[in-house]
Subunit: 337 residues, 2 copies
């Protein structure tokens, strides 16, 4: 029933197109014709070839095929953590955009470690035609391993002309968020920033500018670990230092969701006693109660844009300029603010 390769000790010597040809009493080319549904082959011969191929357990080599007809495009998608809902959405969007072009996507989850990221970089160039993704290591290291390949970075500014990157522009969105809170009468607005990186986040800069423009104190900021628990803990810290805060913006939705949960635990009703506005606009925000108000970005557009740019870089025609590689995040009102 099962092929002979399942017998221990028998190494599964590859069965090639020649074996099928010999078995069916035809030439390689005829086998190729039968398998690829080409013309110029007799019906009975075709069936005989197909039977022989099945009997031998024949499978064409994707390498040999790829070598001669250079038509399949495969891109590598590198993300730090597929379980992080933001990257889940980005990955889903990239997969969708790639599929609509008939491309294949190899996904690498670097487990948020520099070590795995380096490991991925080392093997990726021999597996794909282009790379889309998020890297935390220095640019020149990425450059070293992706030489000659199109690379599109996501959500990270790049410095060298070697890369493209999709920029997330939340400046107006954050301004709108602060304006919305002010209009609702909030005068003490804090922020739960991301504390993972060395420099302050650009999202915090947007918050600072917006708060300042309304004459508010922009200094009520604490860093949060990028998780729901981190968001809860950060809110606790923030409220200890600044008990009069009535609204918070957060670095992203995960942190905001943790803040929502913490607010319920300490008995602050949302949005009446504490307004919460996240960033990213994840689908996850619709599942929690109250639904999360967020400075939302269109992750599908983000993925589509990245793939579009890869396509242009691969063909070499009219790659998009930095100004066109922007996804704008806009305030989307829901229950939490």
């Amino acid at each position: 029933m099962v092929s002979s390769s399942s017998v221990p000790g028998t190494e599964p010597r590859k069965v090639t197109i020649h074996d099928v040809a010999r078995s069916a009493g035809v030439s390689r080319q005829t086998v190729s014709r039968a398998l690829n549904d080409k013309d110029e082959i007799d019906g009975t011969t075709k069936q005989r070839v197909l039977d022989a191929a099945r009997a031998l357990g024949y499978r064409p080599s994707r390498f040999a095929r790829g070598l001669v007809r250079q038509d399949t495009t495969t891109i590598g998608l590198v993300i730090p953590d597929l379980l992080n809902p933001f990257f889940t959405e980005v990955a889903a969007a990239a997969l969708e955009a790639a599929r609509s072009r008939g491309w294949h996507v190899v996904v690498y989850d670097t487990a948020d470690t520099a070590e795995e990221e380096r490991g991925t970089l080392q093997v990726i160039s021999s597996q794909v035609d282009a790379v889309v993704g998020y890297f935390s290591c220095p640019e020149d290291e990425v450059e070293l391993f992706t030489r000659g390949m199109p690379v599109v970075l996501i959500g990270r500014e790049h410095r060298t002309a070697r890369f493209s990157s999709i920029r997330i522009d939340g400046e107006d969105g954050v301004h709108a968020a602060v304006a919305h809170l002010v209009a609702r009468g909030h005068a003490q607005i804090g922020m739960l920033d991301h504390d993972g990186r060395a420099e302050p986040s650009i999202r915090r800069e947007w918050f600072t500018a917006a708060a300042t423009s309304h004459g508010l104190d922009a200094g009520m900021v604490v860093g949060a670990d990028q998780s729901a628990d981190g968001g809860g803990a950060a809110l606790r810290t923030l409220l200890t230092t600044h008990p009069d805060i009535t609204a918070v913006l957060t670095f992203n939705d995960i942190i905001a969701i943790g803040a929502l949960r913490e607010a319920r635990r300490i008995g602050r009703s949302v949005p009446e006693e504490l307004a919460v506005i996240g960033f990213d606009g994840l689908q996850l925000g619709a599942v929690v109660e109250p639904p999360l108000t967020s400075v939302a970005l269109d992750t599908r557009k983000l993925g589509a844009l990245a793939i579009e740019q890869v396509a242009r870089l691969l063909t070499g025609v009219n790659p998009l300029a930095a100004d066109d590689l922007v996804v704008r995040a806009e305030l989307r009102l829901a229950g939490s603010a």
Copy 2:
């Protein structure tokens, strides 16, 4: 600065190892040695080759390389919807298990449509060495396109000997869940089943058996669309028909989370006035409030098991039998019941 391939009209004629060799004044083999960090090459020569390769924008063909050294394994992971948290976790687990073996994973999101699933089946065999995933189309159709490849199905019983499948065994877990509810004094327990398929789900059968064994009415079941909104709507329906219900089991966590949200909306406190127990044990359950009690399965083990079986099928040694391809789901208590 950028290669000449970016000039419109210039088709990017592939630069091969020969071009580099000629440019550096050496042979192909020496180029190969330089690029692959092999011995038997002089330091200066190596540098000269590397410089030439960079200047020409040379990138080795993965097809040619793969053809001659048959060492890379690539598997295809097929899932209906990456944004469904269950499949997100399965995908993450499979990626992790594959990475630890140095395998590459091509991910196909079939968008929950038969059409995309068929499209994926048609192309997948020429791209990967084995397939792991979830298919909704008939087995013989899967068989047709995956001829000769190892195939491991997830969360679906298979009928032919041609496939392996990972079975999810929640019988004991569901029994424990019902026993837990009974111990807490619940006498009217309903279920929110999945209504997507023709046949009743096996999870419902487990519920029926468990409820019956405790002398309870096992008939209070309604189907729910597989989404949070679906779960909310189904709970509403169920409580209309059976207002005296004090606890519900659900087909999965997504539905349970919708039920939690609906309970809050109609003013039933959880778990005091309505106990909710989900199925799957997703990480998502820890984010909602109260945290979700669930008949939890170990998705990492699920992914690891699938990859392990693929490895055994590929080498042909000791494939696991059906009895070993089981992931048991166990009751995990949290706040909602």
